[in-house]
């Protein structure tokens, strides 16, 4: 006898745990691959996982097995030309010759890398883990509200265009049934009685006339119930509810003057990636605007933003001005959540710093939801930092932090996005 069991509905992920164990074990290698990959990755690319490659030798499971050399006798099928005693030139080592290790398939010594993919979530976990915190803390930043119309059941009153015909007719039918049922029952009884009387050998005329009159009245009453009445009408109801907009724009501002080297830019890039990931958890559509500046500001694409090198002095206010212009031009309708992150090594032309404060306080900080300034430098702070400290004290939605090395990025990122807390102490 046999049982048939349909297991198809059982989970298919019996190996998930083992897969996690594998990733856990090779976390070091995988993390290395991930952090190498992050620089190749685009800031806005969050939808894909990552392909990871680990040297085969690192993941082999050693066992005792026979090596090359020694004497063996191997059997092969399909002899088409040999007879006993034939001598054959040894095949060049490295191919064929080995044999004898039919079962030792996973002992390959230093072949290709072991390549596999990790999912988006695993990627993010690893990425954030590199920064030594398991998960992003969800920020409670208020979002812009937008009114949105939702269906909200039915009501008795409304515009003709919202009339729900099926529901209205159902109501009408119910009303008609309810209002006429007693009369119809009586009518039916009378009709039966009339038929009985008519069937009698001597019909009692007076009684028949009475009944016929009554039937006439009932029929008229039934017919008088209106087919459709005001009570029956049902209108689709809509109400307007506040709805957080899911559109956001992220401004990346970066100093690209000669003093910013590639390592500093990579740190900034990590920061932007984090910010972007963070925003994707809250907003559906995010646009990213890249503004780089030295003495002049320019809107560029991502590639140019991170990898082109400029020289010259630094005027930060140029970027702020440009950002303000872009906001006026493209993001002014009010349903955009505007975020900005500015990365710099702190250099600025001394006379320019007060101007930055001016633009920030009078224009930008009134429109942006959050403005984060990170200074990536190991040197002492300069005029820009001191100016911005004043701004930070005055505005809640402005935050600034100092990053010295890669390890700082995540803690500082978290610090920045704690809700309006510790602002003063951080500054």
């Amino acid at each position: 006898m046999a049982h048939f069991i349909d297991r198809r509905l059982n989970g298919k992920n019996k190996s998930t745990l083992n897969r996690q164990r594998f990733i856990r074990r090779y976390k070091k290698q995988i993390k290395k691959a991930v952090s190498e990959a992050i620089n190749k990755r685009s800031v806005t690319d969050v939808s894909s996982g990552e392909s990871i490659s680990i040297p085969q030798r690192d993941i082999s499971e050693p066992t005792f097995h026979q090596g090359k050399g020694g004497d063996r006798e191997l059997i092969h099928p399909g002899n088409d030309q040999f007879s006993t005693g034939d001598k054959i030139q040894r095949p060049p080592s490295g191919q064929g010759g080995g044999g004898g290790e039919g079962e030792a398939s996973d002992q390959g010594e230093g072949q290709d890398d072991f390549v596999f993919s990790i999912s988006k979530d695993e990627y993010l976990d690893l990425l954030f883990e590199d920064l030594e915190l398991p998960n992003l803390q969800q920020s409670q930043l208020d979002k812009l509200m937008q009114m949105k119309t939702h269906r909200a059941g039915f009501c008795n009153d409304g515009m003709p265009s919202n009339l729900d015909i099926v529901r209205s007719l159902k109501g009408s039918m119910a009303r008609r049934i309810a209002m006429t049922s007693s009369k119809r029952r009586e009518l039916k009884e009378l009709e039966e009685e009339l038929a009985n009387l008519l069937a009698e050998p001597v019909p009692p005329q007076q009684k028949i006339i009475d009944i016929e009159q009554r039937i006439e009245i009932l029929k008229a009453q039934i017919a008088a119930v209106p087919f459709i009445d005001n009570y029956d009408l049902r209108f689709r109801n809509y109400e307007r509810r506040p709805h957080p907009t899911s559109k956001a724009v992220m401004f990346c501002l970066m100093d690209v003057s000669g003093s910013m080297d590639q390592a500093t830019k990579d740190m900034a890039k990590r920061f932007y990636i984090l910010l972007y990931q963070f925003l994707t958890r809250t907003y559906k559509d995010i646009e990213v605007v890249y503004i780089r500046h030295h003495t002049q500001a320019k809107e560029v694409d991502e590639q140019e933003f991170f990898y082109s090198q400029e020289t010259g002095g630094t005027i930060v206010s140029s970027a702020l001005k440009l950002m303000d212009e872009i906001i006026q031009e493209r993001y002014a309708q009010g349903d955009w959540n505007i975020y900005a992150a500015q990365a710099s090594d702190g250099d600025n032309w001394a006379d320019d710093s007060p101007q930055c404060t001016q633009i920030l306080s009078s224009k930008l900080l009134k429109t942006v939801r959050y403005y984060a300034y990170i200074e990536i430098t190991t040197r002492a702070h300069q005029s820009l930092w001191r100016e911005y400290q004043g701004v930070a004290n005055a505005f809640d939605n402005f935050a600034m932090q100092h990053i010295r090395s890669v390890e700082d990025i995540y803690p500082i990122f978290r610090e920045l996005f704690k809700k309006n807390k510790d602002k003063q102490s951080a500054a």
Binding site: R8, N18, F64, R72, L74
Partner: protein
């Protein structure tokens, strides 16, 4: 015979599967195939990959190496480099066979005949499986093992357990009792005994490593060797004697050892097992066809797939990767039937004991009492050697050339047969390494000896394996090689530097 075929799909339904199963079961009984009850599980391709990566265990303890296998399987499958096997069957009672959802009805029928009656009757009948495995308790044991390992991970940390299992896996092939029959016990007994064993083992170990001096005059140079006989079951030796292991660690070693023992017969009967199952799916389905139960299109699809399975590419083909066990096994089974039914003069001379006898009796006898090595040396006929055009290549390290040793001719048959048989002797390609000595009075170092066959050295991975052994043993581990002249040479040790 009336031609009244059962619906041949191609889409299957559970009702149709059952109809085919009943027919197959009827024919199997006709051929006296004695099986465990069948439990046929229909699974998806993803689930098949899961089953693959747990190396055929329906329930396994968690370990990264299974994750690695899963990832590998998934990658190759997704890239289309590999199709999935049509079936996986588990030596358990009831015998669990997996059917893959994607297969057509003829394929499902083939798999049922192959796995549920072929492999299943082999598991039940073959002496190795009867002796070394206990189909009725394996599932319970695996459940116990899985829970035990999970419990240990909770208690002692994942890393600790993982490292231990890594080390055990490295020595897995040396965790097999070749001669002693293991006990047959159920899971509940296993759990009960596990606790007792824990306490007992620990007390034994302590006895062996007792440090209280026994009086100075007992310090002699010719101390008795321990173990008194070399031990081939290295994991067993460690489980019982390693000085520093805690009892849970001993239990995990035992689990790995048991699993290895469970798979040991499968490694020794690949040709026979596959040959037997292939022979029976072929015979059963042909029998049904002769009865008019199978349609022509069913048969064509079945034959096409059967032919692929038993194809043996010649040595110079780009598809060649050694001898196909399905091809060899199937053809040997067919050949035995031929020798019984239509023996030639040559057959009578080579196989006087069974040429012309009842073929079914002979096949059952062969299935029950042999393993690959002995099966080939008993039943490989000259005709088959000619059909396969077998030849041997002798590779002597000292000679500058390879030499053709024997070919499929009168002079070569005997040599071919013994060479092929030797090729399936596990001990010929698993290095012979045994526990030789423990310095119980001194530095507690463990010495293993490798006795090479035909001067074949150990591969470079030995140093890595010795490290694993060191982790288990806790004290210095040496590996020595003994050459033909009896000269002993140390080839690996851990820790690698002296005096640490």
């Amino acid at each position: 015979m009336t031609y009244k075929p059962i619906d041949d799909g191609p889409d299957w339904t559970f009702d149709l599967l059952d109809t085919y199963h009943q027919e197959i079961a009827r024919v199997a009984e006709h051929y006296r195939l004695d099986t465990y009850p069948n439990q046929i599980e229909v699974i998806t391709a993803e689930q098949m990959m899961d089953a693959y990566s747990s190396v055929g265990m329906p329930i396994g303890y968690a370990h990264w190496s299974y994750g690695k296998k899963f990832i590998q399987t998934e990658q190759t499958y997704k890239r289309g480099q590999m199709g999935l096997a049509y079936e996986i069957v588990i030596n358990s009672d009831p015998c669990i066979a997996y059917l893959m959802e994607e297969n057509t009805l003829p394929m499902q029928a083939l798999v049922m005949a192959h796995a549920c009656y072929g492999h299943n009757s082999f598991f039940k009948g073959n002496y190795l499986f009867k002796t070394w495995t206990d189909a009725s308790s394996i599932i319970d044991y695996l459940v116990f093992a899985k829970n035990y390992v999970a419990k240990c991970e909770e208690k002692y940390g994942i890393d600790e357990v993982e490292n231990l299992i890594d080390s055990c896996h490295a020595l897995m092939n040396y965790g097999v009792d070749r001669y002693k029959r293991p006990q047959r016990i159920s899971m509940f007994e296993e759990q009960k005994r596990q606790q007792e064993r824990e306490d007992y083992l620990q007390s034994q170990v302590n006895e062996l490593w007792r440090t209280i001096p026994k009086g100075e005059d007992q310090e002699t140079h010719d101390r008795p060797r321990f173990p008194t006989e070399p031990q081939e079951n290295i994991l067993y030796f460690i489980e019982k004697n390693a000085p520093l292991l805690e009892s849970w660690q001993r239990e995990i070693i035992r689990i790995v050892r048991k699993v290895s023992q469970y798979f040991y017969p499968q490694r020794q009967t690949q040709v026979m097992n596959e040959g037997w199952a292939t022979f029976w799916h072929y015979t059963i389905l042909n029998h049904l066809y002769d009865e008019g139960k199978l349609s022509d299109s069913f048969m064509l699809e079945f034959l096409q797939s059967h032919t692929n399975v038993v194809y043996q590419p010649p040595y110079n083909s780009k598809f060649y990767s050694g001898i196909n066990p399905y091809a060899l096994g199937f053809n040997m089974m067919v050949d035995i039937r031929r020798i019984c039914e239509n023996p030639t003069q040559e057959d009578k001379q080579w196989f006087p004991e069974f040429a012309g006898s009842n073929w079914l009796d002979t096949l059952h006898f062969a299935m029950q009492n042999f393993k690959d090595e002995s099966f080939i040396s008993q039943f490989l006929s000259p005709k088959l050697m000619r059909d396969f055009k077998l030849f041997t290549i002798v590779d002597k390290q000292k000679s500058p050339h390879l030499e053709v040793g024997a070919i499929h001719d009168e002079m070569g048959y005997q040599q071919l047969r013994s060479a092929l048989s030797a090729q399936y002797n596990l001990s010929n390609h698993e290095p012979n390494i045994q526990v030789y000595d423990v310095d119980i009075r001194g530095d507690r170092s463990l010495t293993l000896r490798y006795i090479p066959q035909g001067g074949i050295p150990l591969a470079g991975s030995k140093q890595e394996v010795i490290k694993h052994l060191y982790r288990l043993w806790g004290f210095k581990v040496r590996l020595e090689q003994v050459d033909e002249t009896g000269k002993v040479e140390q080839i690996a040790q851990c820790p690698e530097t002296e005096g640490e």
